[in-house]
Symmetry: C2
Subunit: 348 residues, 2 copies
DNA sequence: AGCATCCATCTAATCGTTTAGAATTACAAT
DNA sequence: ATTGTAATTCTAAACGATTAGATGGATGCT
């Protein structure tokens, strides 16, 4: 709890001199410099970051805003974000919003309150559009990742969800499936909308009618998806899907378990395909076929874009769509042969 | 980017008055109050948290220091911590240390630098002892969770690891196993030491010799544990374990996969038991028998203790050891019948 | 009217830094 | 000794809030 004044007094110099040696910002005579350094060590002094932040008007911290860190998708984003932040001498604060409007508002207060210099938002929802737009107008450095808000002039990075869903459906069709259901997610969320769109598109293109029951929300979570799958597997044979595409791997785990509980064999009687490619999907006892989204790359890129923007606020906003990849494992029974190459689409 | 002065000017009052209405700290005439509120809304003003923090000497934030948020054990701690912090009007900053001394030091700088008011440390290692002790001496509010530093006078919460390991070994023995290996973790880490101690104790008590190979580190991670398991399963029959206890569930997944890859059936030819009870361990295709550590409770308690200490720095430090629980699933083949009741041990 | 009381509001100091710009010192050249 | 110049070091003003303590105006009482 020593302050710069204590150091100055102890070393017999002015506070300015102490500041100069701490920050290496002006030349200081060798012996004074030594005395200052000694005093710092002796009193275990660490400059008060809050005072410093107030004076220089920056915090050397950014926020990473996620909906729920408990979803294994996000810790990976966090590590990548942290990694590039560290390179720039920055620290990252992870904030959960639980997809709640007021929690996002609280998170963004950290920006307005000067506690962080910028934020990468991965939990944007259409209902947050106004708030984010306002912040942008006020000039705060923001970037959207994973969940975009279309039509907003802001730096953005997302995966090519639409194409991913198309790849998934086409892969299933190449295996002979026609009755393909989609256990989707929260309405209006970017990820859900784009993936649903891809699903619908691919189904339509193949001339397959999509029953209403085939498109039900499992919220991308285990339990709700489990429930939806049970419903799906109880449909009359004419409508009962032979394949289920899931909004997320987490949801796919729920579907897998529902199948098991109902004695439906996977991939024998049912093909299951996920989205994300979490670490756990590769376990020998899971072996989930899935669409991998490059989350490390996505987060690194988003964070780099944030730093670029903090360095130059007049940059033209960019949006980057990263290609996804079909990872063939065991839950569809097929081999990699039938999988189409992912189509890359960059810089919209 | 409006400041309190802008609001004062716009509302035609002094900055003090603005502050009074923002903080509800003195009575302000109705019409002035209204004018101030209007100005705030109009300019989209949010008080600068940094300036406020400097003046009142607190940040309303705490740190949760973890070794690696990518390990699903930690996000759960984070949510619980956040939950109680929120109740106290606080925000939590999650920081990864990667079990690196200098990263922990950086994390603790946030405390010394006044950016946070306290910290719950879940990544303490013996090599951090001096630094933590020093901080404690300087009066900073700290609590240790999950990983303790024995003999340090500091608020602490951990699981009863020793007893957990004993329960696991005894359960395996009740199933007839004698050749039981332990895929352990980083030397000297509290968690590893206590769990190894329990393992060794139970083995000794049963009069079973523990071969050196039976106690090898898998670092509590998937890949290293996978490798260790391969080694274990290639031991000559006399030494080859029929059961493997793992430091963590994550490690157990590696062991499970090694067994699968080597054509060793679980639980037929090998029993596997984990530690933690991650969400994924309950999946139908995993069904890992494990020792559950009450991480939500642990984190909530630790955070509550931190707030108690911040409220009264003279409290006598407490150490709480929470009971663990054997969760019988499918990887040992046994039923719940043989499981002993966990022994609770509180307030050392 | 004179005075005390009470409210509401204001002025200015403060928190711990950074950093212009002034002041001081050292030293060489005359 | 005087002066000029360069090299150090210092003083003091920010940064944007909070909050004692001062001030001023209204009201009530004698």
């Amino acid at each position: 709890m020593a302050t710069i004044k204590d150091i100055a007094r102890k070393a017999g110099v002015s506070v300015a001199t102490v500041s100069y040696v701490i920050n290496n910002t002006r030349w200081v005579h060798e012996d004074k410099r030594r005395r200052v350094l000694e005093a710092i060590k002796e009193l275990n002094y660490v400059p008060n970051a809050v005072a410093r932040g107030l004076r220089i008007q920056k915090s050397n911290a950014i926020s990473l805003i996620v909906s729920n860190i408990t979803n294994p998708f996000y810790p990976d984003l966090a590590r990548a974000c942290e990694q590039v932040a560290l390179k720039h001498g920055y620290t990252v604060n992870i904030v959960n919003t639980d997809d709640d409007r007021v929690k996002l508002h609280e998170a963004l207060k950290q920006l307005r309150g000067g506690r962080v210099d910028g934020a990468v938002i991965t939990s944007a929802l259409p209902e947050n559009r106004d708030e984010i737009e306002q912040l942008l107008k006020e000039g705060y450095p923001l970037v959207l990742a994973s969940r975009l808000l279309e039509g907003l002039k802001v730096d953005s990075v997302a995966a090519d969800n639409r194409n991913g869903a198309i790849m998934a459906v086409q892969y299933l069709m190449s295996l002979g499936h026609r009755r393909i259901a989609f256990v989707s997610g929260v309405k209006h969320s970017y990820i859900n909308e784009t993936r649903v769109e891809g699903y619908l598109h691919a189904m339509k293109e193949a001339g397959i009618r999509v029953y209403r029951e085939w498109l039900t929300s499992g919220q991308g979570l285990y339990e709700p998806s489990y429930q939806v799958a049970r419903m799906l597997l109880q449909l009359p044979p004419r409508k009962r899907p032979t394949a289920i595409l899931c909004l997320t791997d987490l949801g796919a785990y729920g579907v897998l378990d529902a199948a098991k509980d109902m004695g439906v064999s996977v991939p024998g009687d049912l093909a299951v395909i996920g989205f994300d490619d979490l670490f756990f999907s590769g376990l020998r006892n899971i072996q989930l076929t899935t669409i991998r989204v490059p989350r490390h790359e996505m987060s690194m890129l988003a964070t780099e874009m944030l730093f670029s923007r903090m360095a130059d606020r007049n940059l033209e906003p960019r949006t980057v769509i990263l290609p996804v990849e079909l990872v063939v494992r065991k839950t569809c029974g097929g081999s990699a042969a039938a999988a189409g190459k992912p189509k890359a689409k960059n810089s919209v």
